[in-house]
């Protein structure tokens, strides 16, 4: 973290009320002053843009085959070459990023936000038996080896989830191929993703409960939702951001790992896991290393960007985080 002169810090404090800026905006300003964090943010932004708008951005469909041009190197019509089935690698990378985008966003929303924040707030605020129940459940999940359990869940429940009628209907309606796969993966990931965040939020809420402004709020007869969402949530938002950003890289990596193992997203829905599996065999490496290097570079860069961003945010948002 760059050391700020006391004058700067003081100036910021004085300027704060007059500009009407919240602490989050100040944090954002600090983030934007870090060049590496900005670069990471830019990369993540481009990646998510490509993922969300894959149907528009990708030059070709992820299933379109050009059997005259199998395992070709880069050319004008295929900037990153083609794979063994004559599919455009660039398009497949873009469509695969859509899988990563959907899974990370959905896991973050369900496991990271709804479950972690909800259960963390509830445990800290309600206390007593509710607290014990939630935290013991968390202990069980925390004691489980994540990846082996996820592989087991996905391997055995995969076909069952894929045959749920509602999900296949949603798949057609949303026009997202492989929607049941996504639900399976982010559902399983969410089961494990909430524990860390919920613990941190709970302990913060426990500390906040003893503060004077909480006593004041209670004395004035504030309703429970008001206390939860107006008084407590804003004060744990920093922690939420830190724990979310720290988990992004591992969420993305776990989806890729599961698909690599053959229990995640099923073909033909593209995923980096499947591309890395196909490109990583020794035969494929010998004949066409590009098929490994292209997805490998994108995946490594993405996880690196997530980690850099998470690191920067931890620096900025945790007061004694060194």
């Amino acid at each position: 973290m760059t050391v700020e002169s006391p004058a700067e810090v003081a100036a910021e404090k004085v300027a704060q009320p007059s500009r009407g800026e919240g602490p989050l905006r100040i944090a954002l300003g600090r983030l934007l002053r870090k060049k590496i964090a900005v670069a990471a943010l830019l990369f993540i932004g481009v990646f998510y843009f490509c993922g969300i708008f894959a149907p528009v951005v990708a030059p070709k469909s992820y299933t379109a085959q050009d059997l005259d041009q199998v395992t070709q190197g880069p050319s004008l019509s295929h900037p990153l070459g083609t794979d063994r089935l004559g599919r455009d690698v660039l398009s497949r990378v873009i469509w695969a990023s859509r899988t990563t985008v959907v899974v990370t966003a959905a896991t973050l929303l369900t496991g990271g936000l709804v479950l972690a924040v909800g259960l963390g707030l509830l445990a800290g605020y309600a206390g007593g038996k509710v607290d014990t129940a939630i935290m013991r459940l968390g202990d069980v999940f925390f004691a489980l080896p994540g990846l082996p359990m996820l592989i087991m869940i996905n391997a055995t429940l995969g076909d069952r989830v894929r045959s749920i009628g509602l999900l296949t209907k949603l798949e057609d309606w949303l026009k997202i191929d492989g929607f049941p796969d996504y639900v399976l993966i982010f559902g399983a990931l969410s089961l494990f993703a909430w524990v860390g965040g919920a613990r941190v939020i709970r302990s913060q809420v426990l500390a906040l409960r003893e503060t004077e402004y909480m006593t004041a709020a209670l004395a004035m007869g504030a309703s429970t939702p008001r206390i939860l969402f107006h008084h407590l949530l804003p004060n744990v938002s920093n922690l939420i951001i830190v724990s979310l950003s720290a988990s992004l890289g591992s969420i993305a990596g776990t989806e890729i790992a599961l698909t690599w193992f053959g229990v995640g997203v099923q073909p033909p829905t593209p995923s980096f896991g499947a591309m890395l599996f196909e490109g990583g065999s020794i035969r494929s490496l010998q004949a066409e290393p590009m098929l490994l290097l292209v997805p490998a570079a994108v995946v490594a860069a993405l996880i690196f960007a997530f980690n850099l961003l998470g690191d920067a945010l931890t620096d900025i948002l945790t007061p004694h985080g060194r």
């Binding site: 489980l144 053959g262 065999s281």
Partner: protein, 317 residues
């Protein structure tokens, strides 16, 4: 050490509860999967009558809870069940040699992680503020970002296909050169993690008064580092041995599969693909047991090393 033994007892009593929960969840999940193991093992062309008979023989026609009870009873007798793929072979017989292979590989990787990570982190801490500092932090973070399933093929490409230094894969004990690739690939992320923590902790300790005192009384820099800095800075590393073991294990899934090493990682991959549910069940239980025990051992080790840590029952959580 007051409060430590009650804490230890609570932890040890808690472990079987978690394991029971794990076994129940895993058991239910495997039985919820489409098609029971027998129909999977017999394939498409099966005789309905034979199917029913084998199912009855294996007790698969009983209610789920009863099946679970039988499973637990067998488990208590050390019987992990029978593999449906390798016919008439106890899973125990299959798994234990594979666990030995994985344990050797994991141990070598763990040694690499700490013996490379600690000096690297200390070095980075001493260079803090110099040009090498952001570079080293950056490269640690980057190394942590490359998954094993990418690291292994990259190493194969360089060391096998381009430089012809190493064979493609395989396994022949820890003194064979074929261990180099999996051990290195699995330890990269851990090295970076250990180096980052070592750096942060060393920086904290370097600012302490007693380090200044040690320097002021004329001790050699190496002695200061070893006796005053390292001793205090390396303590938190004990806690991450558990986490390192887990990430090493996760890496083993990919390294063993890619390099054809006959360990439990490879066996998990095969079991998943063959839908050998009892084998998966056994693997999950074994891995969970190891994981939980490792965490307990680490917690105990931590208390023994640092007497300042108290496990007050009211503050834990």
């Amino acid at each position: 050490m007051q409060g430590f033994f009650p804490y230890l007892v609570r932890r040890l009593l808690w472990a079987p509860v978690i394991l029971l929960a794990v076994s129940f969840i895993a058991f239910t999940i495997t039985r919820l999967g489409p098609g029971d193991p027998v129909s999977v093992a017999m394939g498409q062309f099966r005789d309905q009558e034979v199917l029913e008979r084998v199912r009855a023989e294996k007790g698969l026609d009983k209610p789920l809870i009863e099946q679970y009870g039988i499973y637990l009873k067998n488990l208590a007798h050390g019987d992990l069940g029978e593999s449906y793929v390798y016919k008439n072979t106890d899973i125990g017989e299959l798994i234990f040699p594979k666990m030995w292979v994985s344990a050797q590989l994991g141990l070598v990787a763990l040694i690499i992680v700490f013996s490379v990570g600690i000096p690297l982190g200390t070095f980075a801490a001493l260079k803090q503020g110099e040009r090498a500092d952001p570079l080293s932090i950056g490269s640690f973070l980057f190394l942590q970002s490359v998954p094993v399933l990418i690291m292994v093929p990259l190493m194969q490409y360089v060391f096998v296909l381009k430089l012809h230094w190493l064979p493609t894969g395989g396994w022949d004990g820890i003194f064979d050169k074929r261990i180099i690739m999996p051990a290195l690939a699995m330890s990269m992320g851990g090295i970076a993690g250990v180096a980052r923590i070592t750096r942060a902790m060393t920086l904290n300790v370097l600012g302490e008064d007693y380090v200044r005192t040690a320097r002021a009384k004329g001790l050699r820099e190496f002695t200061v580092l070893r006796r005053h800095v390292a001793r205090n800075a390396l303590l938190p590393l004990v806690t991450i041995i558990g986490i390192s073991l887990v990430s090493l294990l996760e890496g083993a899934f990919f390294a063993e599969t890619l390099l054809g090493i006959p360990g439990i990682g490879r066996f998990s991959f095969d079991s998943v693909h063959n839908r050998d549910y009892d084998a998966m069940m056994a693997l999950t239980l074994i891995i969970a047991t190891g994981f939980i025990l490792a965490n307990i051992v680490v917690d105990i080790a931590y208390t023994l090393i640092d007497p300042r840590i108290r496990y007050d029952s009211r503050k834990s959580g």
